[in-house]
Amino acid sequence: MSDKGMNLTLKIWRQKDSKSKGKMETYKLSDISEHMSFLEMLDVLNEQLINEGQEPVAFDHDCREGICGMCSLYINGEAHGPDRGITTCQLHMRMFNDGDTIVIEPWRAAAFPVTKDLIVDRSAMDRIQQAGGFISVNTSGNTQDANAIPINKSDADKSFDAAACIGCGACVATCKNASAMLFVSAKISQFALLPQGQVEAKERVDNMVKQMDLEGFGNCTNTGACEAECPKGISLENIARMNREFIKSAVLKDK
């Protein structure tokens, strides 16, 4: 296997905990294979730091196949790095060149406080989901047959496309307003497009938007950066749909 053996300079955000002040630190790495994933490159750095008796860099990661949404990282000013349609764990070193300096920062948003180094607290996103990101149906062995309600394939496909969101927070990190509209609208759209979800559509959009605002996320000004950086290609159309759902709910106020 051919190895280019890249030499790299890394500038990485280090912060002991949420209460401490952080700063950028510089590290040198040599002989990095182009076939490595970005996180494997960080593994190599950490192995080196441990062997030198230093503290390794803390970063979030788990599945390392682009689906769990745990990995983050703002790399050279881009959420999930320079490639498109992928998460940081799927980014490979062939996207970089020998001699490059790579700047690695955590997600930056008021609603995402830094926990340590490159790890941030994204529990605000969970709380938005807890406010209404569900269909109120209990577990029972007696729900109606799955094929009882045919669903237009195009709607089902669009619902799936919205549901593909992995909740990583790249949309928030990349937005100049730190808005979570793409994330929230994806869940609202998934359910708004299905007959099962339409029953409580009004309560859902009201409650989720309210919680989103409470958490301190910014507003949407239609720059579209979120869509461009989203590893799952969640469409801006979802934000438009959420706005329609929100207005519909306001107009049809019945209480």
């Binding site: 799927q90 529990s123 729900t143 909740g167």
Partner: protein
């Protein structure tokens, strides 16, 4: 007489579950409010169980080591979920799904459990659709199905290549509804490190807050372990980096028997490894075998050319290729079960036909499917004489609709375009059929301690069929455990809250604190990963796709040596009172290093080949099945449930004899 009582209800198999549900003690709704249940893990089994138990009225405390319950590794399951709906009218039924699962598991699973699984499978699909899970649909608006390895019907429901994600988000949404109501208290970034047993019953856990390092006590009337499988004992696997055996191993050491640890599934279609720095292996869904044909060059002279890139795969004509699965197994072809497909790939690569530089890769080729689909679509669109280019373009379009995200993932990792050149694949550790022994109620050998999903041993025998893991996780979590746990909890309505100042909590907490302190004080010279990789190499070489007596004995010696070295020389930077990923990894490796040994002990004692466990000493010597795995029903038709006695090599073997009343035992044949 075995100490194990499976508590399988009497009566005909098709009535057992219904009868059992009628016989189970119920807890009245007012009393459920007085009962706490701990659930460790928020994957399909744990998430579904948490949500369902909370809906029923119990107070649930759920634990996840990730920052959100949505990130549990069930999310990575790609292909689909089986259910006996027979929507395709191809003759499917509860019995057939039951039959396929028992046969696929090489007759090493408990018949009654599998039947129940098949029985509730249809409810799962109904439930998920009601929750808003966007399954793939046909143009008529009804649900679509695909076929999966090892069966002859189309019963697999799917959401593109992200079925696990969509099902898990369904369970996560159900959990969120209960978290919002305060019925589930969610503990993210918490890792269970010990079980607390009071008067013989599971009454709580000791957990570490992974952000602050604080050691916490949590009490409950029952504890459910749904912490997934232990594939990471191999270091490299398709599991998430954090997937671990700790919760399961800790209950094992407190009295829960560990069943069939050697039953591991090596999945045939993963992206081959590229170097020593490799941290994990990525699965390419088995659904690809519906359309991909697996081959290596027929002539050994062509192999070198392929490896060096002098010959391109498409330069080899049909008769220069060896479609070895189609050749060896004409009836099932590329759709043989995973264990069979994996061993066949290893056989070709061991014979020197591997197609990449490491010699550990075979081709998965979509060229025929692209042509076939292209012609079909051209016809549908009214092109009676389509050009070759048109056919290819339309065919690629169909393939993209079916597998787009998988092809994209493959290209991002390897920088090869699988529409134009065949994928390279090789088997990798994927799923562990073994796990904590449970009875029909999913209760372990510790009263009040339950185990669900991949963490238990129950339904897949020695080999799991594709699209059955999601089915089992959700069956356990939504439809089995919430009922069966009532049988135990019905006696707990007068117990009252379990205090956390009992001596048993003191003792368990001290054990955890001592373990952490001991690890932090080693201050050795090598990283945790160094030892984990060493363990992984031994596991893969000696306990992997094929096993023999000498290799397994060697593994036991080597694993012990690695464990000793680890406890002398591991270096964990930082402190225990902060977020410390190296400490987390070390705590998990402590348990993998013990489990690995029990794994080898189990594999050594099972002198037959069955499912994912292939013993080189046990193969068919002649006839049509020559060279295929040979099962030994006379001596090994039992579940090996190991009891902790203080040391993995001295674990005590308890046997649960398997009875097959509704299925005839046959040697598996996919010819």
């Amino acid at each position: 007489m075995s100490v194990l009582n499976s508590k399988v209800p009497t009566g005909p198999i098709k009535d057992k579950w219904t009868k059992h549900k009628n016989d189970i003690n119920l807890v009245n709704p007012a009393n459920k409010r007085l009962i706490d249940v701990i659930v460790v893990g928020t994957g399909l089994a744990g998430g579904a169980a948490s949500a369902s138990l909370a809906e029923m009225g119990y107070n649930v405390k759920s634990f996840a080591y990730q920052d959100s319950p949505r990130r549990a590794h069930s999310i990575a399951a790609q292909g689909g979920i089986n259910a006996a709906k027979n929507y395709q009218n191809d003759g499917d039924s509860v019995y057939r799904l039951f039959y396929d699962t028992v046969k696929g598991g090489d007759y090493r699973s408990r018949e009654a459990n599998v039947y129940r699984l098949a029985e509730v499978s249809a409810n799962i699909i109904d439930q998920c659709v009601a929750q808003g899970v966007p399954f793939g649909r046909e143009y008529g608006g009804l649900l679509a199905n695909r076929s999966f390895g090892g069966v002859l019907v189309s019963r697999t429901f799917y959401a593109k290549g992200q079925t696990g994600q969509q099902l898990l988000l369904g369970a996560y949404a159900a959990m969120n509804r209960q978290i919002g109501k305060g019925k589930i208290k969610m503990y993210n970034r918490h890792e269970m490190l010990e079980l607390v047993v009071v008067d013989g019953k599971a009454r709580g856990i000791i957990a570490r807050d992974m952000v602050t390092g604080e050691i916490e006590r949590h009490s409950a009337h029952a504890v459910v372990i749904a912490s997934g499988g232990y594939g990471n004992v191999f270091y490299l696997s398709t599991n998430a980096m954090g997937s671990n055996v700790t919760a399961a191993w800790r209950i094992h050491k407190k009295g829960a028997f560990f069943a069939n640890p050697c039953y591991t599934q090596i999945h045939p279609t993963c992206i081959p490894r590229s170097g020593d720095y490799q941290s994990k292996l990525t699965l390419m869904s088995e659904s690809l075998r519906n359309d991909g044909r697996i081959w290596v060059p027929k002539n050994i002279e062509d192999v070198e050319g392929i490896r060096t890139g002098k010959i391109k795969p498409k330069d080899l004509s049909e008769d220069q290729r060896d479609y070895y699965l189609e050749r060896r197994y004409p009836a099932f072809g590329n759709l043989v079960p995973r264990d069979v497909a994996s061993r066949a790939a290893k056989e070709r690569c061991d014979a020197g036909y591997g197609v990449n530089a490491t010699g550990e890769a075979v081709f998965l080729d979509f060229a025929s499917a692209i042509q076939r689909y292209g012609k079909e679509r051209a016809y549908v669109q009214g092109h009676k004489n389509p050009t070759q280019e048109e056919i290819t373009r339309l065919g690629e379009q169909v393939i993209e609709e079916k597998y787009g995200n998988l092809f994209q993932m493959y290209e991002k990792i390897t920088a090869d375009n699988p529409y134009k050149t065949p994928m390279m694949i090789y088997p990798a550790v994927h799923y562990t059929m073994g796990g904590i022994w449970v009875d029909y109620n999913l209760m372990t050998t510790i009263p009040g301690c339950y185990c669900a999903g991949e963490a238990n041993f129950s339904d897949h025998g020695a080999n799991r069929l594709g699209a059955s893991a999601l089915m089992q996780g959700l069956a356990d979590g939504y439809f089995v455990l919430p009922y069966t746990i009532g049988d135990f909890l019905a006696d707990e309505i007068r117990t009252g809250e379990i205090p956390t100042n009992l001596p048993e909590f003191d003792e368990a907490e001290k054990e955890v604190k001592d373990r952490i302190e001991k690890l932090m004080n080693i201050k050795g010279s090598k990283s945790v990963d160094h030892f984990h990789k060493e363990l992984g190499k031994v596991m893969w070489n000696n306990c992997g796709m094929s096993r023999n007596e000498a290799g397994l004995k060697d593994a036991i010696v080597k694993i012990k040596a690695i464990r000793e070295e680890f406890w002398k020389d591991v270096r964990i930077p930082g402190t225990a009172n902060e977020l410390n990923p190296e400490l987390e990894k070390a705590m998990r490796l402590v348990d993998f290093l013990e489990l690995g040994e029990l794994f080898a002990v189990d594999a050594l004692h099972r002198k037959e080949s069955c499912g994912g466990h292939f013993r080189e000493e046990s193969v068919e010597l002649d006839g049509e099945q020559k060279g295929e795995a040979k099962r030994d029903d006379v001596n090994f038709k039992y579940v090996a449930a190991w009891e902790w006695t203080g040391n993995p090599s001295e674990a005590k073997l308890n046997k649960e004899e398997l009875e097959f009343n509704d299925i005839e035992l046959k040697q598996r044949s996919y010819k």
